[in-house]
């Protein structure tokens, strides 16, 4: 009985860890303390993105077109470490874009470039 109880406690404790914290896949992992990384650079509808920061707080994700104009912007709360989110691109005209992560003072943390696949 004690053995089953210990085993079930171990299982629950492991389960709790995976719910609270999504580990980045190898392709999304960032070795630096903070940064940004896309899962794919040719995108159709949506793409996963790792927004890694070194402190909890509010940040902005900016999508800029080829001429550098902001066409979409999200203000988001991020936690220390890796934050796996999505960038939705289905509404964007087919082109190439950059996605940037900035802090509340507009200090650039990281930038990536992706291209829309022709529909």
């Amino acid at each position: 009985m004690k053995k089953y109880l210990a085993l079930s406690l171990l299982l629950f404790s492991c389960t709790a860890d995976t719910i609270d914290y999504e580990l980045p896949s190898e392709v999304l992992s960032i070795s630096q303390a903070q940064g940004i990384k896309l899962e794919s650079y040719v995108v159709t509808e949506a793409v996963s993105i790792n927004l890694k920061v070194n402190q909890n707080g509010y940040y902005s994700v900016l999508i800029k077109n080829i001429s550098g104009s902001v066409v979409s912007k999200e203000r988001i709360s991020l936690s220390f470490g890796d934050n796996i989110h999505k960038v939705y691109v289905g509404v964007l005209p087919v082109s190439s874009y950059s996605v940037e992560l900035v802090d509340e003072d507009y200090k650039l943390i990281g930038t990536e470039v992706f291209s829309m696949q022709n529909k």
């Binding site: 509808e45 949506a46 993105i49 902005s60 994700v61 999508i63 001429s67 104009s69 902001v70 066409v71 979409s72 912007k73 999200e74 203000r75 988001i76 989110h85 999505k86 960038v87 939705y88 691109v89 289905g90 509404v91 964007l92 005209p93 996605v99 507009y106």
Partner: protein, 534 residues
Amino acid sequence: MIKRLIVFLFPIIAIGQDLYLDHSYINEPVFQVGDTITIKFNTIDNNATSPRLVQFDFEYNNKVLQKIAQRFTIQSTTAQKNFNHWDGYKMNLNPDFSPFLLTEQFRWWAGIASQSGSYSYSSEADWSVERITIQDSQDLPFGDSVYEVDFIIRDIQNTNYTSYDNASKLNWARISNSAGLIYDVHAMTNSISLVDVAGGDAGGVVINLNTPAKTDHAADFAYVVSKDNVVVATGNFDGTGQATIQGLENDQEYNLIVTVDGNPAWLDDVITVTDVYNTFLQAIRAGATPGQIQDHFTYQMQFLQGEVTNNGNIDFDDSYALLAHISGVEASDNVTSVANGSYNFSGNITHYGVSTNEYYFGMKSTFTPTRDNKVFGFAHGLRGDVDFSHSYAPEIAGASWAAKTVRTAKGAVNSTIDVSTSLVNGKVEVIVQNVALSDVSGMQIILEYNTSLLSFENVVFDTGNSMPNFATHKDGKVYLGSLDQSGAAAIKTSKPYKIVFTPKQAIQNTAGLVYFKLVDAVKKDGTKVNITIR
């Protein structure tokens, strides 16, 4: 004394000529490429000469003239006549004597009197040489043509020649009497040049497109070239707004129109709140005092581009039709938009924008390539675009009057806004805030959103109590904004707009779900404001 006399008379003796050899065409200019011309040769006496032998060489540029026939025209029945022809040679003249002194050039060629003429002809593919020899037992006549050659004027496009200068030249002449005395022969016309030769393949004719829209959309513009209502060339401009058209002829007049090719998405960005507001102010025509009437527009073309209801005047019907458009509703078929298509104006920039009896609003559609001019500029404009954001603002005299850049895209000022999209209590909220300009009387925003993931819910305005607002939702786009056409109120700058969407499924974040397609604003005085999202 005799020595002095000889010295005194020497220049006269040296330049005295016994007779002339003439060389000229007998046709009436102006010539066209492909015309046939005839060059005749005849002698003119100057010193009571009695020529029995006439022999001369001439050469012609075979890239410029194509020989088709020759004939002796001398009337004597006793004369012996002969001609020789060589292709690929050109004479090196004696540099010590004028080309007009044909006898001296003969001596150079023949090597007479220690002249070194051994190499006086050298290989030259572009030139052909003919030698004419006429000998008679009686004196040869003067004045009448003795020999004629027919040539076709060739097209010099794709050759190394840019003109028809020096197409044919006399090289040398030997004319002597029955005793063998060689006369001094002077060329009356040493070389023949054809001026004003019209026609011929124009080669690459370049059309430069003039419109600010070419910066981002040059390849979306198409051209049609026609002559006598027959289309001779069509195509699209390249990424720099240039088209090189082949197959046209010099000195022929062609018509050219420029249009937007198809209905690209950017047509919905052409008419903005600036156009609406300025058209409205033109409809009011308020002067400095209540009794005064004064045009608000400062370009002739604004009256053409702002008239979108086909009633011939700028009035409130026009401003209403434009306002409806920016609100997402097409009230007039004449407003340039994706739904309606493009309404194009175009013309040669030499006249564009200045009305004359000949050209309506200066829209001269013609151009004429010539040998010297093969580059033309054509302007393009769009109906409804009174601020010239996507239309050429004419620059020739008379196209505009004082303060011409005010209230157009050229005179625009810059400003910024801040936007943010975020998940708030399960909703997606788009906040537009911090308008960095205080006297904005109109603003327009077009948002496109992901219809697979979001449903539009509403727009919350906080623009000021007296500011008229609008918002429409259509085809995955939200059209919203504000416009106080009286110009009395200004939009509150803090958080004037909040657009709310409901997610159709669980989402973690909102990046890319909403796309700012267009943001535009206008100041109270009609000045366009270029908005940058921070």
